[in-house]
Amino acid sequence: MKKVGFIIIAVVIFLGVSLISSYNSLVGMEEKVNNSWAQVETVLKRRADLIPNLVNTVKGYASHEEEVLTQITEARARINNANTPGEYAEANAEFERALNNLYVVVENYPELKANENFSNLQYELAGTENRISVARMRYNEAVQEYNTKIRRFPTNILANLFGFDEKQYFEIDDEDRQVPEVNF
């Protein structure tokens, strides 16, 4: 009889420890998601900060290309207004399309392309695009880990109990995958 009692206690302790460790690991994963999202926002802002300089430089050489410049400025504003990762992703895709249009237009202005400030800006933009890409990848990886965990049994019970909800991916549709190419 004593043996059964001992086993029961051991099981209870084990369950308790499991629960605690599951909960803590969920918390850790959620924080990782939040943290990597903060990084996404940081690099999006970094790119947004480059835009005024870009617009001014382009205006200096291609003042008639108002439409393209307005497109970019508006797209940038739209990113600021986004709230959920999905919205951000859409706004981001639009922005990148607008930026792409700008690069196409710039091809007609060799003097602009030769301008040192502009070429530095292009490097910065390319680097920032890459950072966005990396931040996005890391965020989505964190989300995947987290979402999988809260959906798996038996952690899903715990997740529901404590309100761990599924997170949204920072997703871009395949057709929007065209990251603007920067030619050197």
């Binding site: 690991s25 070429s119 910065e124 890409s133 931040a135 965990k149």
Partner: protein
Amino acid sequence: MRKKYLSILCMLILILNITSYAAELALPRPTSDFYVYDESNILNKEAKEYIIKTNEELYKKTGAQIVVVTIDSLENVDINEYAVKLFEEWGIGSREYDNGVLMLIVTEERQIWIEVGYGLEGALPDSRVGNIIEDSILPYFREGEYSDGIISGFNDIIDEVEEEYSIELNRNIINEDLYRIDGYETEGDIFSGLRGILVAIGIVVFLVIDFKFFNGFLTYSLIFRGRRFGGYSSRDYRNNRGGGGRSGGGGAGGRW
């Protein structure tokens, strides 16, 4: 009898979970010298030695690492993605300062990308790196002078790093092993080794108890937990002296 086989099987599965997941991307492993990986064989011997010796001094003084990697082909992966993943996998630069730089040259696709760790983004902003590539490296590459081009870029990068840390490196090729360092990692390595042993012992004890009392139920449920144990060993390289630095994707590239 069957229980015994089951427990061995479970041990194997658990061990497999412990070792790091194979990357989908087949990344090369560093050489024992770490700082140079020359798959395409475009660096001459002096260049390699120069890179290694300079790095050893640099690492000793600042923890920074500037790794040169040449590969033949990206095999349909974006150079940016490849560079970031390689940087991450090898942990270039020290963990405390994230001061690593990766110079990645792909000879078949004729692309270069220089990835800069978080800690050196100030000294090497994207435009600076872009200009280094355009002005110091590509002119050589276009003439097929790969070794000279790489060294030229490498030196420019060292210039910026020296300035960042207000140091000066002795850039002559050093013949004696004056700066040979044993045990590049400080407390990190030994600790993880000990931890590894403790974890292994814990697992064995756990398995014994589990199979004796619970017929393996606990082990099975733990396996479904996935990555619980899978975190620590991917950085646990001993021979390769990656300091554990990280990068966010900053840097610049070029084609020739």
